[in-house]
Each structure stands twice: as structure tokens, then as C-alpha cells.
Symmetry: C2
Subunit: 343 residues, 2 copies
Amino acid sequence: MKRITITDIAKRAGVSKGTVSAVINGKNTVRAETRNLVTSVMKEMNFRPKGMARNLKQKNTDKSIGLIVRDLMNPFFTSVAIGVKDYANQKGYDVFITSSENDHEREVKFSQLFSNKDIKGAIISPIVEGSSEIEHLFKLKMINYPFVLLEDVRGIQANVVSIDNVKAIKIAVQYLIDNGHTKIVHFAGDPISSHSLERIEGFRKAFSECSLSCTHEMIVTIGSIYETAFINAIQFFKNRSRDQHPTAIVCFNDQQALAVLDAAIQFDLQAPDDISITGNEDIAFARLFPVPLTTIHAPLNEFGMKAAEILIRNIESPTLLPVENLVLDANFIIRKSTKQLNS
Amino acid sequence: MKRITITDIAKRAGVSKGTVSAVINGKNTVRAETRNLVTSVMKEMNFRPKGMARNLKQKNTDKSIGLIVRDLMNPFFTSVAIGVKDYANQKGYDVFITSSENDHEREVKFSQLFSNKDIKGAIISPIVEGSSEIEHLFKLKMINYPFVLLEDVRGIQANVVSIDNVKAIKIAVQYLIDNGHTKIVHFAGDPISSHSLERIEGFRKAFSECSLSCTHEMIVTIGSIYETAFINAIQFFKNRSRDQHPTAIVCFNDQQALAVLDAAIQFDLQAPDDISITGNEDIAFARLFPVPLTTIHAPLNEFGMKAAEILIRNIESPTLLPVENLVLDANFIIRKSTKQLNS
DNA sequence: TATACTCTTTGAACCGTTTCAATAAAATAA
DNA sequence: TTATTTTATTGAAACGGTTCAAAGAGTATA
């Protein structure tokens, strides 16, 4: 089935391609009668002009960048997206957001689509699970396509903006230790997620830097979304008697922390009196939780803005720029879900 | 400043365009030496092949649709986006999301960009404030570009999927009246928003259908986002003595309801005992509020899916299809923020 | 040495529009 | 009636790549 082109329309209407083009573009040089004829033929044949061909000849001055997140629903990415958008808009760029839904195939496809669609550059939150495939990134480099990663990917030299997850968790744990907690547990996110692994590393580091030991049982993987985390947290509490419970739990993220808060209540453990709980990421609702959440505030907006800044700098540079690597610090926000342990 | 093209690279490297093209596309027919030469020239000149030109000749089989929301942060749109994405993916389409940020210019620009970038169709949540400008929609019709609106726009015949806001609020008010409430107030959203106006209409209708009168003071505009709603709600409660307070408040949306809940507490009004409060939209967090929120559940996922369904049907149809107009019902979910009034 | 292959590279044709100088037709002026 | 202007239409060139038959250069084979 062949595509219908402007030539088909011209032929059928008995006019030239130029005239059809003029009608499409609403030029006022075409006679009403001709316009009607052409329009009706277009309708009849359901003709849709091919945008790419139009753009080829036209000056195509549009400025746009693409963003590939891993999960649309995740407030983390929403906040980052806002940052990207704000900076980009300010510089006159529009943002196209897509979600890989943690599917590597999609990430690959999108990175291609962006350049095919003349989107000038991309900010990519890459899926990194162990041995990540990165040939699509090499392809982008080959065509000098500007892009910024939101996470470090081994094996490729590229612009990266990331948040120091290790440090962030370390500070939270430090705080708990300083406040007399020793029975601290870390609820990890998803086993394959690099975010999760980094946070586990931060948890471990905090202990080793205080010359305390961090045992295997102190890290429990319960998942990153509310529903699964809730179920697993219930299981966790059920499996031990009251005096076996930790005095503090360091959660992977805020949604998980909420689930833990809710699960704990079912076992009559009220934060912060019976148990201290910290979140991570400081999503918008964190301060509105039943117990306002002590959490780690990642500068998500700034995160997005910085990525956009680097990207646009690269887009606008006539020469190839050296890669940048920027690590942002998170900061700890003390609300009501943690307290000093009475000794 | 002229664009660097493949011809420039070919000339500089002393090879033909065809060879450069082969290098770009990683064809293995190119001698290593030649490949290196070309690659280095490409780097040196920071050459970025124009995607649209590439796609013109290639078979370009990519299937993608665009979504224009009005506000990225709004959970309402996030849920709709998920629905769109789910249906689209299932049909093999990718989704590009953009946000007009309630700026009409942007909406216009995006609707153009989509077709220019060979995105096959668009789902648009239009900005409708009074006399809305719609020539950009007419332009889309002119080129038979498939699109679906997420709200009715006067003056144009187009595919529309919408939610029956009027009916939704009516049911909520009905419920409150049936449960003995008479001193009911509606907190409206933003004055210009058509959603807000429809909800006000629903509020009015519920009263008139019960042959009760709905006075002007029963509708108070306090805004749709948490922060402003909170401030205005505080003001509202401050302005009247305890026995003047309504026994029930019908809120514009869930975020606003949360703000009202929080503000009410400050005046020692606890839902549902001292005051009944209903939300709208049933965002994910609504059931996790301090008091689980009685609200109106809009089938947002289905909303998005239906829009995607209609859009894709139009994209894939060889002939121009008649427009569709689909209205979805919302349903009322009773949780803990409302109760029967003791008479 | 001639012949057949293989490996590289070339360059013209093509993708589907827009653009614009040239032209044709119609209207107006002389 | 002819010259001039205005209005509408044409068609070839251009946009920036890809494609692929054909040619050229080496190499191995007979």
C-alpha cells in the first residue's frame, strides 16, 4: 500500500504540486474555487502530508529536547521533568517526555526516535542492571548527538548528572546513630536497581565509618512501590517479637516509608515514639503524611535543570565539547518521623 | 551560519556522500581506514546528520502518538497519561508527552510540532477559557491530522473524550443531601478553568433537582493547588463563628480537599465528625490521607485509554472517519471523610 | 596472462515536500 | 486595440540524507 503524496492529490485535482502545497499552507494566492477543489480531494483521499518532508525544505528553527524517564508514575521523575522543563523553556526549548517503563528495548528505540525526529538532544535516565547494553549510546556518540545521562553508566564516556545517593543515605544513618539508635535496619528497593544498590552502599559506609559493623540481616529488600512494600513490611514485623524490632528504619524512598509507617501502625508501632523512620527523595506529599516524614531531600528540580543546562550547552556549541560529570548533594530534612532514642 | 551536511564531510574527507552515509549507518562494507578518517572528520566538524532527511528515504515505519497535557505536576494528567501509554503500547505505539503549562501559545506550537515530527496523531487537553482560539485545531483538520480532545471545545467538530463533571459533582451533593446535610458549601477551583465551571454547574443542578435553592455564598473559589487552597480555607474558617460553618464541603479536587482537611483541623474541626468533606478525582494518595477521603473516582486510566483507542483507530483508517464523542461517568467512593448528619 | 572473485567506493536517482522565478490568464489602463 | 498591471498557476530546483547498480582495485585461480 503506497503512501498518498502531494503528487497524487495534484494529479487527481488536475493542478500542480505547487498549487496543492499552497493550499495546504493557507497561502492567499490561490483562487477560492481551486482551493475548494483541492481541499475536497484531500479529504476524499484522506491525505496527510508528511511532516518530515515539509520540514526538510523549511527553515526548521524549532528547538526541542527529549527526556527519557524510566517510570512515568514515579514522582521522582515528575520532579526532575519539571526542572528540565523549566530550564529548557527559559532557553526557548520544548520538552518531549517519554517513558521507557524500565524496558531496555524502549530506551533504545526512543534514543533513535529522538534523533530521527530532529529533537535536538536527549536527557536519558538509563536502565542500568548489571551488564547494561550501551550500543545505542555509542550510536548517539557516533552521530555527535548531544545527550546527558541521569546516572553513571559504565563503559561509556558521556555527560552525567547524578545525585550522591551514597552520601545521602550515609547522612541519614549518621544522624540516627548520633541519636542513640543502634538497631537500625535498611529497607532496600528493587534488587536490580542501581539506586537501590547505591543506597545500600551508603548504609554500609555509614556503619564502617563509625567503626560499627553492618550485618547482612540489617538490610532487607522490600521493594520501592507502596503496595509491595506494605505487604513485605507487614511480613517483616510479623516475623519478630516486639523487642526484636529495630529502633529505626532507613527506607529506600518516601512511598516505601509511607507503607512502612502504615504497616507499623498495625503492630502498634507508632513513629516516632516506638520506631524512627526515614524516607528518601522528599516527594511533595512527604510532609503531608500522617506523621510528617523525616527524609532526604534530593534537589530534583535542580537535578533536572542542571541536566538541561549541560544538554543545551552541548546542543548550541558548534564544536564538540568535553564531557561533564556533575554530582549533586542531597540534604537531610528532619521532620516528625524520627526522634532521639531514650537510653 | 550554514548547516554542516554530509556533503561537507564527504568533501573534507575526500570520499563520496555514499561512503559517509555508510559510515554513519555502521555498514561493514567500509574499510577500517576509511571509516576512521570519516569518523574523525565528523568529530572535528561536530557533524550531526539531520534526522528528518534520513527518515525521508527510509521506510520510516515508526508508530508514535503525542499527548499534550496542561500541567505536568497534576496527578490527574499523570493517570491519564498512563492510560494513554498502556493502550498505545499495546497497539505498538510510543507516546511523546508534552505540557502546555496552560499556555495557549505552547498548545499551538506543539500541535504543529507533532505533525512536523511525523508523530502520527495527538491527544490534546485543550486550554478552554471563554473564547478559546481554535485555529490551530482547524489547521490540523485541514491536513487530516488525527487528534482527540480531552474536553469539549466549542466551534469545532472533533473527536472528544470527556468526563461528566456535572454529573459527578451532582452525585456527591445528592449523597450529602440524602444524609441530612443542608449547609453545604462548594469550594471551587480556578475561576477560568472549565473543569471548575462544570463542577459548579453540577453543584447547582443537584440543588435545583431537589428543589432546594443554591445561593451565591454557597460557592467559594479557593483554588486548585494545595498551597493556595490551604491559605484560602484558613481565611474561610476564620471569617465565621463555629455555628456558621457548613456541615459539609464539596471540594474541587483531592489536593484541595486535603488542604481543607488540614485547615479545618486548625479550627478544631475534625472530619467527619465536625464537618464532612468530599474530594474529586481520587488521586492515588486520597485513600492515604489522614482521614481517608470520600471522593469522586474518575476513571482516569480508562479516560486515557479510550482517547488512545479513538486516536489510533483514526490513524490507522485509510479513510476519514466520522468524529466520535464519548462521555465517561465518574463514580462516588465513600471513605471516611463524610458521615450522616445527626439531626 | 587472462579470468573470476571479492572488497570498496562512487554517483545518480530518489524520498515528499516547499520555494520561487517564469509564465499564462485576466483585468485594467491608455 | 494594445500595453500594462494584477492575479493565479506551473514546474524545476532544492532540502539532506539513503540506496544500490555499476565500476574500480586488488587477489586468488586457472
